[in-house]
Amino acid sequence: MNKSKGQITSVQGNMITVYFDGDIIQNEVGYVLTGEERLMAEVIRISANIAYMQVFEDTKGVKVGDRVEFSSKMLSVKLGPGLLGQVYDGLQNPLPQLAEKFDFFLPRGVHLEPLDEKKKWEFTPLIKTKAKVTKGTPLGFVNEGIFKHYIMVPFNLEGEFEVKGIVDKGEYSVKEEIAEIKNQRGETIKLTMVFDWPIKVPIDVYKEKFTPQEPLITKIRIIDTFFPVAKGGTYCIPGPFGAGKTVLQQLTSRYAEIDIVIVAACGERAGEVVETLRKFPELIDPRTGKSLMERTIIICNTSSMPVAARDASVYTGATLGEYYRQMGLNVLLLADSTSRWAQAMREVSGRLEEIPGEEAYPAYLESRIAEFYERSGLVSINNNEKGSLTIGGTVSPAGGNFEEPVTQATLKVVGAFHGLSRDRANARCFPSIDPMDSWSRYKGFINPEAVKMAKSILHNGNEVHQMMKVVGEEGTSIEDFIVYLKAEFLDSVYLQQNGFDDVDAATDLSRQEYVFNKILVVLNKEFSFEKKEEAREKFYELRHLFIDWNYNEFGSQDFKKQEKVIDDFLQN
């Protein structure tokens, strides 16, 4: 298809209308030529000969009559070795490289190659000439950090192909040809290790999609024990500002037991990404002994960066996640925050003068959110191995009120809900996941009966607490008071976790099981106290002992010593 050309007829904010000749595609990328600059834009509506386009950059200085060049390609990312450890903006521009070239600021209209084209990769072929292949078939692999990065037949090639030639084992850059395949009509296609994929189209090259079963260990106790997440599942974290959404996401990205983490910082503060950016390269992943950055991709479109690219950033994240899932890896995509993405949709919708839905969000908000979360999943691939993409999204509801369109649309499609509460955050109870409101449809690794029991104590304790606010402590029976103390104890020593302490920040599976059993002993124990003062004192003391225990390294001398102190305390 010939590339079309056009001319700008109007400009308002980042929305332009373009009069074009020839043919264009919905979601096609075009470039606005203004002065010396080329500003990237995407077609979002076509009517007669006018294309409505959102510009991915600031439109200052753009004029009516400026030329637009269409690319006849949808908005795509490059998939190939070298993605891990990268820091991209929403359009897959590598930010550190931009910083090298342009220093402090992000210039307009600059696009850099997302993958290092000079780097040589040691390619090992897995397939011989004459073999029959289809999209997604591994042709060979390279070692990318600790992972085997499979080089696959591009996902956009339909039908069966025969391998005409493949290179020998050796070092190749991503630009070099590594194989040639032939379709049934005899046309040959030359392949490199890289191909493009449109970000708004889910990759569906897998064989089968399964129900998520296996728990994803986040090492956050309240999540793993009470509201677990499954590999290939979805979850959301709605919460008002200041409730600790981002800290929770950061802890998850750091400690979760998963192969690859993709952090999509979408329309949030730049400062938050910086911490990940600067600290991850120095942090060691305990499972691999390598830097955490080697398993991480950061897509960073912070709030001051152009709005349209914000929309792209979550899709870019999902696409990269699906790509690595296709290699049999377990991937976790953390999107922070999906509300900013929804707001970006709202801004665009408003400029298109679409009829607004609730709170002026477009009518298609729900289906867009559903589509996005449905890109997650546990799938089997070519060699029957399984890979998964888990999606966790934060939601920033206006006014902290969960009855708003984005939260509600998200709750419909996720498997677990970790609702953060402002009250808990104000009381400095972190993570501030509200145990009363949250839920999960996934199975955890701790005996469900025990968890149920613990939850009922939390519930009853909460009821007693509410009651006590009305009738006062003296109006409460000692039995009820003990239930309240037990609930408070469980909350402060197990549900709460100090994310800033090296030991307490991450509790692995075996420690969770071990400590939870000890907690069950306390919860099941019949206490007999004469007076409430005495009961409170005892429980405070016990709480103190457990909190100190949380700071001891699992299995260490101090840990055992403290356990002994606790056991002795419980004996008496």
Binding site: G61, V62, V87, E347, A398
Partner: protein
Amino acid sequence: MRKVYSKILSIAGNVITVKAKDIAYEELAEVKTSRGKSLAQVIKLENDTVSLQVFSGSRGISTNDEVRFLGHPMRVAFSDNILGRIFDGSGEPRDKGPTLTDNLIEISGPPVNPAKRIIPERIIRTNIPMIDVFNSLVVSQKLPIFSVSGEPYNELLARIALQAEVDMIVLGGIGLKYDQYMFFKDTLEEGGALSKSVFFMNTASDPIVEGLMVPDLCLAVAEKFALGGKDVLVLLTDMTNFSDALKEISITMERVPSNRGYPGDLYSQLAKRYEKAVDFQGAGSITILAVTTMPGDDVTHPVPDNTGYITEGQFYLRGGRIEPFGSLSRLKQQVNDKTRKDHRAIMDGMIQLYAQFKESQEKKAMGFRMSSWDKKLLKYGKLFESQMMDLSVKVSLEDALDNGWKILAECFSPGEISFRTDLVKEFWPKNK
């Protein structure tokens, strides 16, 4: 010489339209009316119809007034000469000094590359214990002061301007009452801080559209000083007026409103300004403190709500004090482990006890019997409020921490409060 247009097609709100060709988006124009000259900015281009928002408002504009396009976007003069000067929302002098025309810089420049940002690590001491001890202000932080009309937020801002350990102050007033403007001017003059300050002042009697420019002017100037190695503190008051100005323009332009009439891009507009806060590696920094009054004391109102999601925490100013609950400096963890080793323990412990005090106070108000523990808490609460929370308290961070231990020792025994044993050993006042 650029072409002059003398046919204004429509005038609605503060927006006028003219027919013109080859005009750039966000370009400036000068409108000459019988009342004088005013700047205007292009906010929409549609074929050859150009919409402009007129800074001085549309009142008195005639359909045959002259519109001259200047061929450049909004700019502001930048040099060391602007120190100690006061400008209005168009960048024109408000004081009696000369108009500055040298070294003009464009405002609202490109965003900072996140890859070039560094983890904030320097505390800005203000000698206000509620800030220094409990919610430390950090270089490159952006923090709003959530308050309601009638609270002394401008007094607080002025005190911070005087006491904060920074190289420069840029103060932006948006829809500020005239006496408040004079208050700032006089206070900074008396405190001897005027010579390291720049003011961009839009008062309530000035056109509100001009107020829209104030944050951008302040931040453009601050950015240049920061790149020159200065630690700049930008103080803005009041960002709710800024948002209301955005609302006004948006409604005039017949855009679909999202929430209570505010435009759908309110979040992005605010973020674009606040995100200018930065610590430039190897150069200076910008820190932003901005007053946001909450209409009806409602934090879920779109302006404070969107602000809260953008900024790195917030201070609540209520009853003339910085509230310990809800007030949060998200960056304090970056700095408060390097000050003194009891800093965090005092910070957490005292607030937890204060929360318990509040509960006891509530119980007392409802007529329940006070236990001995309750009584201790009540005593503690009083001391905490008078020696820590009161805004007139001016002490260094270290003295404030010592005071904290004193208050604790006056009310409790070490066993009653959950402080780490090693800290109690070292800091608990011995003579008690």
